[in-house]
């Protein structure tokens, strides 16, 4: 597994789960393990229907703010907060990792495994750089997710004058 990351080795990355495609890095950072959350244009991943499906920092931050996150300056551990690091590559959000109270970072690597890494740099440069950090109170964790897919299609009947049925 460390071989996947050019800066990774057995000392700074530890594998913690078998490979699965049931969830992805952003979901895992929010302690969700039954769905993938990502603003992909193909609409295969969960995403709030009223947010753009763009892998931009603004969009991902907007989503995280809805869950109670706020920007913070450092990735250092702060008691009472859950911290998230957002990796950027080519001006796109490329990965999200979560800081554990024990001091290491937890990541879900694409469609593969979960890992713990001692530094954010352990996944660079493959994931780009950890450029932005956000934090949220650790009380009431995990956060309640908003609606992440469009609702059922509404039927409009011509016979009822265009009213919803």
């Amino acid at each position: 597994m460390p071989a996947l990351f050019s800066a990774g080795n057995a000392e700074n990355i530890r594998l913690t789960s078998p490979a699965t495609s049931e969830y992805n890095c952003l979901a895992w950072a929010l302690s969700v393990n039954d769905q993938s959350i990502w603003p992909d244009p193909d609409e295969y991943n969960s995403w709030p229907p009223d947010l753009p499906r763009e892998e931009t920092l603004q969009v991902v931050q907007a989503f995280l703010r809805r869950l109670g996150f706020e920007e913070c300056q450092t990735p250092n551990f702060e008691g009472g907060f859950v911290k998230i690091a957002i990796y950027m590559s080519n001006l796109r959000v490329s990965h999200v990792a979560r800081l554990c109270p024990e001091g290491y970072w937890e990541s879900k690597c694409g469609l593969l495994v979960d890992v713990q890494h001692t530094t954010l740099q352990a996944l660079s440069p493959d994931y780009g750089i950890a450029a932005v950090f956000m934090r949220r109170s650790s009380t009431s964790w995990p956060p309640e997710l908003p609606q992440l897919h469009p609702g059922p299609a509404l039927l409009i009947s011509a016979s009822t004058g265009g009213r919803l049925i």
Binding site: Y44, N45, R92, V93, H149, G151
Partner: protein, 167 residues
Amino acid sequence: MKPAHLLRHDGPENDGVIFTRKAISTWKGAMRKPSYMLAQSTHFVPANMVRFPMRTSTAAVFRDEIEDAERRRQIEAIAHEWFENTAHLSQVTRYSQHLSFATLVTFGADAAEFAIDRLRAGDIQQHWLILLKAIYDTNPTAPQHMGRASLQAQDWIRWFDERRQDR
């Protein structure tokens, strides 16, 4: 028209004949018989193969099957390379930026069938879903299944089977 047994060694080489799988398997069965039985039989060549050139090499006889198998092997190798190089990435859009993805799309229906087979076999990967969408330019998965690869795989398999029945 001559009876089949008279056409057994008749006719020039004919590379343009397309044989059904049933005809080929029948011929395979016939060829498994001992030679003395073939010599005694005047009807071992099925009627739908009467134009079959018996002098043609085995490789040519099974050309279609060999080509199918080779094509399948190519798709499998490219898909493996695609997955190996991208599965660790979190950025989903980078999957479709890989050269192997573009190559797979050019295989069209053959690549789609491969992807559906993988999903049926329980290899639930978003790669196959993305590939299918690129080939068919549609996404038949239910909106409420977003983010849940297993359910989306079932949607795709159902859509694929219904489409095949309609054709």
